[in-house]
């Protein structure tokens, strides 16, 4: 019964969209109806799935690197107060650069192919991970800090047994933001360098005014993004089942 409202919402939205294209007589070149999009997909499913795979590969590779780098940077920054104070302003300044604007430059620096795309994904999603992890690592409650001090716990024990697990719910908040940004980063990189991936499909279909094909690519992107997001959510429920209980 809990699944009924979300399903009804999704079906209702698609139905409304379809009805609008019929009632107002909108031409498929401006806004294709759902059947046009399905037809565009069925015309060349192999090609579209292959490009989805390319985008997925760049997204996952970039996200993976960003998670590893982001966690490492956050751990290093919070380990030494002086390092944090030296590097945090640089990070904040870097974060305020619109990473999307770097996409054409990355092609100049790294050439065509997957590398500049993966780098853009890393750049765009590493900051939320760093910031969320740092917030988590510095939010250990005072009474837990006093507990570990009164037990004469070593710095390492305090880190591993208290600070790190305490930070995990906030780490996952960062990961959920980052995974959606990762897909955006991959698509932006593909649009500026349309040699492959769903972003490339969108650019090429725009040139030939094949709007249904562009919508098919956008739909696949939405599915991709949603699936990746819920994979992270599933991992969160598996690793920190207690987070929801104490937040509520």
């Amino acid at each position: 019964m809990r699944a009924v409202p979300p399903i009804a919402g999704a079906v209702g939205t698609v139905a409304l969209w379809w009805a609008a294209t019929v009632v107002f007589g909108i031409r498929p070149i401006f806004l294709p109806a759902p059947p046009d999009i399905v037809a565009a997909f069925r015309a060349q499913p192999g090609y579209l799935l292959r490009e989805t795979g390319a985008t997925l590969g760049e997204t996952v590779a970039g996200f993976g690197v960003a998670v590893a780098a982001g966690l490492l940077v956050a751990v290093l920054l919070t380990a030494w107060r002086a390092v944090e104070r030296a590097i945090l302003p640089v990070l904040v300044a870097l974060n305020s650069v619109p990473k999307v604007a770097l996409a054409p430059l990355l092609v100049v620096w790294l050439g065509f192919g997957a590398r500049p795309k993966i780098v853009l994904v890393v750049l765009i999603c590493v900051f939320p991970i760093v910031v969320a992890t740092m917030a988590g690592l510095t939010s250990t409650p005072a009474e837990l800090g006093e507990l570990s001090r009164s037990l004469s716990a070593s710095g390492w024990q305090t880190y591993v047994k208290i600070r790190l697990p305490w930070a995990l719910p906030q780490v996952f908040t960062g990961l959920k933001v980052a995974v959606s940004l990762a897909v955006i980063g991959a698509v932006v990189a593909e649009i500026s360098n349309p040699s492959g991936g769903l972003g490339g499909v969108i650019v090429l279909s725009g040139m030939s005014l094949d709007t249904p094909l562009a919508f098919a690519a956008i739909t696949l992107l939405a599915v991709l993004s949603t699936v990746l997001f819920y994979l992270v959510v599933a991992l969160e429920r598996l690793l920190v089942p207690w987070a929801r209980a104490i937040a509520g």
Partner: protein, 250 residues
């Protein structure tokens, strides 16, 4: 056992220094149960943190068994107002935390943890997580965690003050039983006069800030004590009234 010799502690604030405690002289004998009461902000918690080695005095000395206290000691345990449990650990895992951190033999202490949890009425809850328990049960887990290392000194900072009145009485009765069967030197900070009279051999009344020892009252009522249904009801009431007077005149 615990000796406080002209102990003072002040804190630097934006408006100059604030004296929390001044010239506290106190001698606590082995296995004695001492309650400390006083108004909010009179330095009761500071006093405990000085004895726990979490704070250094700005004047005077704190010694335990003749050794000055400079850092947390293995045989001294501090219990907070909040249970301060780790939400990702089970009840048993929380009780075992000090054993793991101090690298004590696990098998032996595991048996003790089970014994303690059973003694406070948490027999069926070893594998539950803290968020599945009520506030009173969480504080019982914290009590077991404090007792697991067989501390010689137990410092308790308003341990029951976040609980409802009935749970509070239950836990106080349980603490009294545990103190009778396995005594440890206990310093128990509280706001509650009846709680102090129920539990303590001696009650230390602190004056308002800066905290000084205003009076030390010996409670000679035989144990087990209770609030309602024993022969010594009149004695308890008399003691409570005397303390009331002392605190209200402050």
């Amino acid at each position: 056992m615990i000796d406080l010799d002209r102990v003072s502690r002040s804190f630097g604030t934006r408006d100059g220094t604030l004296a929390a405690l001044r010239d506290i002289d106190l001698r606590i004998a082995e296995n004695q149960f001492v309650a400390v009461i006083g108004r909010s902000g009179c330095g009761k918690s500071t006093l405990l943190r000085l004895m726990a080695g979490l704070l250094a005095p700005t004047g005077g000395t704190v010694t335990i068994d003749g050794t000055p206290v400079h850092e947390p000691r293995r045989d001294v345990v501090l219990m907070h107002q909040l249970p301060a449990l780790l939400p990702w650990r089970t009840v048993l895992g929380n009780v075992m935390l000090p054993v793991e951190i101090r690298r004590l033999p696990r098998a032996e202490y595991r048996a003790r943890a089970v014994e303690l949890l059973d003694a406070v009425g948490l027999a069926g809850f070893h594998q539950r997580h803290p968020y599945e328990l009520s506030g009173g049960m969480q504080q019982r887990v914290a009590l077991c965690r404090a007792l697991i290392q067989r501390p010689r000194v137990l410092l308790m900072d308003e341990p029951f003050s976040a609980l409802d009145a009935l749970t509070r009485e239950e836990l106080a009765a349980q603490l009294q039983e545990m103190h009778m069967s396995a005594p440890a030197t206990t310093v128990f900070v509280t706001h509650s006069i009846p709680e102090a009279v129920l539990l303590a051999d001696r009650v230390v009344v602190l004056s308002a800030r800066p905290g000084r020892v205003r009076r030390v009252l010996d409670v000679g009522i035989p144990r087990p004590r209770s609030f309602g249904h024993n022969a010594h009801v009149a004695d308890v009431a008399g003691c409570v009234a005397e303390l009331h007077d002392l605190l209200l005149r402050d």
